[in-house]
């Protein structure tokens, strides 16, 4: 297991923000990462934009398009990570799609990501059945490939948990990413099934935006992941977003203390 990721869950409930790299620019992304660490983020998910993000709702889809239109590429994201890694200690995990990795060359991608200072990767379109194509390569380079479980996973949870690395990403709701008023899934049941099979942290994501939701979710999990709500702030404030994102992260982290 990657040590930095382990550390992220060693100090109470973890707050895990997500941002899309290059929205509105990689310079601003770099500042946001620095500010989020200061504001108490325990682990940061960095989205490498993809043209057709099939697991995303409208907010993150739009951020992907904005970033790609601005000329962001995988290599430019690696350069940005390399720069920011010199000043932050927070664990960094990529979240992108299988083709971004496969097309770059999985071995070359893992080597460059690891060298830049990344700690893990989440590929929402790579389920348990296809994981062996990617996970061993990332493992070799000291990166954890994070497994997801969904409200529909049921009897699959045991099998997924046994081979999970880093932490388990518990998808709170059906559907794609995006803010939700209500989360009805029994998160406690999901996380206890995971933990019955492996001693590994569980973080809940999809649909969470308010401090109240975060603290409620954290009752049955080790961490809370927030994407769309933060990406929305980036979309609204553009290059002024670092301060606004920091304020939001502080508020969310406080709710988890």
């Amino acid at each position: 297991m990657n040590n930095r990721i382990k550390e992220a869950f060693a100090h109470g409930k973890a707050f895990i923000p997500f941002i899309t790299c290059g929205d509105p620019s990689l310079e601003v992304t770099e500042q946001i990462i620095i500010e989020m660490e200061k504001a108490g983020a325990d682990l940061i998910e960095l989205g490498i934009p993809f043209s057709d993000p099939t697991a995303e709702g409208p907010v993150i889809q739009a951020a992907n398009i904005r970033a790609l239109s601005g000329g962001v590429t995988t290599d430019k994201v690696f350069e940005m990570v390399k720069r920011v890694r010199k000043v932050v200690k927070v664990p960094l995990v990529f979240m992108t799609y299988a083709n971004v990795v496969f097309s770059y060359g999985t071995e070359r991608f893992a080597a460059n990501a690891s060298e830049a200072g990344m700690d893990g990767i989440i590929l929402p379109d790579v389920p348990y059945e296809e994981k062996e194509e990617f996970a061993p390569t990332f493992r070799k380079h000291g990166m954890d490939m994070i497994s997801l479980i969904a409200p529909t996973s049921h009897e699959r949870i045991a099998m997924i948990a046994k081979e999970a690395e880093g932490f388990v990403y518990c998808v709170s709701s059906l559907g794609v990413t995006g803010v939700r008023k209500e989360i009805t899934t029994d998160i406690g049941e999901m996380t206890s099934l995971v933990k019955a099979n492996k001693d590994i942290p569980c973080a809940v994501g999809f649909g969470i935006s308010t401090p109240e939701q975060a603290s409620q979710m954290a009752r049955n999990a080790d961490g809370v992941i927030v994407g769309s709500a933060i990406v929305k702030i980036c979309g609204t404030y553009g290059s002024d977003s670092p301060a606004h994102v920091a304020e939001y992260v502080r508020k969310m982290k406080d709710a988890l203390r």
Binding site: F50, S51, D52, T54, A55, G57, P58, Q61, I65, L68, T73, T74, D75, Y97, A98, N99, V100, V101, F102, S103, Y104, P124, D125, V126, P127, Y128, E129, E130, E132, E133, S147, L148, I149, A150, P151, T152, S153, H154, R156, I160, V171, L174, G175, V176
Partner: protein, 394 residues
């Protein structure tokens, strides 16, 4: 490697949320595909509702004009709803019904698959929602109306290039949102396993019939079978029962758009490379970083940046050949078949006709070509008129 592979292609690259639904579908399909009662119902619907078997027509005028191989046309355009799409839709909705689903969703490009899905949903009393790129809802306004008339709800997809690939993405997103009562009727031999296999099996009736019909008419197998390829369902249907007959050339016609040396193309095998998208590993039009390319073709049904995994495999092994046909060539063929045989083909199918026009003159008169006319061209008339500079409205 995971299930559902054709060589390196295929697989199940989908969100965890969908995995149990896909597994359930595979189990149900494996159970029903050999179930006599299921097959009796399927055959009954194909024959008495869709109008199968479709005719294999000897195109004597076309043959004479081109002056080479004898040309037969497989008339999938004569099926109910005007295309081969109904073969797969009847199979999948019958299966969905057996699985206890009450709602179907589907993507559509030209609108043929959407119309077929809306039709069979109406027949079988299923709720139906269709996802169609906004650009395509404009190109194929008549089909949008047909779907609504049939009781389906049509969603215009505005994301990305607002064409077929975006409609597939949106239908997949909707499926993750509502799985319990919903079956996703994927319209081509693409997506995650088991879809490429299920759709192929339901379309294989095309080559099964061609084989019987040509043996009856000519006493021998054809020298070449030609079909257009977007995702590739009519082509795999026309090829499948000939794969073991190594002397039969199998030729898939991709949409070159304005040319394979331009950015305005949808010819995946000619211009794409190996990738992972929409649940499958196969060839895709993409940039050096794996971003999916905004493809183009005059044909909304071939306007897709990928190709089904079994086609990718048939290409790798050399069993099938894939050629690229431009908009210009397809439109010429659209007009040629209309005038010589009185058959207006879908602009998709016109890509296959166009290649037959190139190939037939190079072959001896005792050779035989079968062209799969996958659909009828009524839906395309306004667009072709516009292409020729005539502004007509439906």
């Amino acid at each position: 490697m995971s299930k559902g592979r054709f060589g390196v292609h295929g697989g199940q690259y989908i969100p965890e949320t969908l995995m149990n639904a896909i597994i359930e579908l595979e189990e149900a399909y494996n159970h029903y595909k050999d179930d006599p009662e299921f097959n009796r119902e399927l055959t009954d619907l194909l024959n008495n509702y869709a109008g199968r078997p479709s005719r294999l027509y000897y195109a004597s005028h076309m043959t004479e004009k081109l002056g080479g191989a004898k040309i037969y046309l497989k008339r999938e355009d004569l099926n109910h709803t005007g295309a081969h799409k109904i073969n797969n839709v009847i199979g999948q909705i019958l299966l969905a019904k057996k699985m206890g689903k009450t709602r179907v969703i589907a993507e559509t490009g030209a609108g043929q698959h959407g119309v077929a899905t809306a039709t069979v949903a109406a027949l079988m009393g299923m709720e139906c929602e269709i996802y169609m790129g906004e650009e395509d809802t404009k190109r194929q306004a008549l089909n949008v109306y047909r779907m609504r008339l049939l009781g389906a709800k049509v969603h215009a997809v505005t994301t990305g290039t607002a064409t077929l690939k975006d409609a597939v993405s949106e239908a997949m997103r909707e499926w993750t949102n509502r799985i319990e009562d919903t079956h996703y009727v994927l319209g081509s031999v693409m997506g995650p396993h088991p879809f490429p296999t299920i759709v192929r099996d339901f379309q294989a009736v095309i080559s099964k019939e061609i084989k019987e019909q040509i043996l009856k008419a000519e006493g021998r197998l054809p020298d070449a079978v030609i079909a257009c390829v977007g995702g590739g369902s009519n082509a795999i249907g026309a090829f499948y029962n000939f794969i073991e007959d190594k002397d039969v050339r199998l030729i898939g016609c991709e949409a070159a758009g304005r040319g394979i040396d331009t950015a305005d193309t949808a010819a995946t095998i000619s211009t794409g490379r190996l990738g992972i998208f929409h649940g499958m590993k196969s060839y895709f039009c993409q940039d050096e970083y794996g971003q999916i390319a905004p493809v183009y073709s005059i044909s909304a049904g071939l306007d897709y940046p990928g190709v089904g995994p079994e086609h990718a495999y048939l290409y790798d092994t050399g069993r099938a050949e894939y050629v690229a046909i431009t908009d210009d060539e397809a439109v010429d063929a659209f007009e040629f078949l209309s005038r010589t045989e009185g058959i207006i083909p879908a602009i998709e199918s016109a890509h296959a006709v166009a290649y037959a026009m190139k190939l037939a003159p190079t072959m001896d008169k005792d050779k035989i070509i079968v062209v799969n006319v996958s659909g009828r061209g009524d839906k395309d008339c306004a667009a072709i008129a516009r292409y020729r500079g005539e502004d007509i409205h439906e």
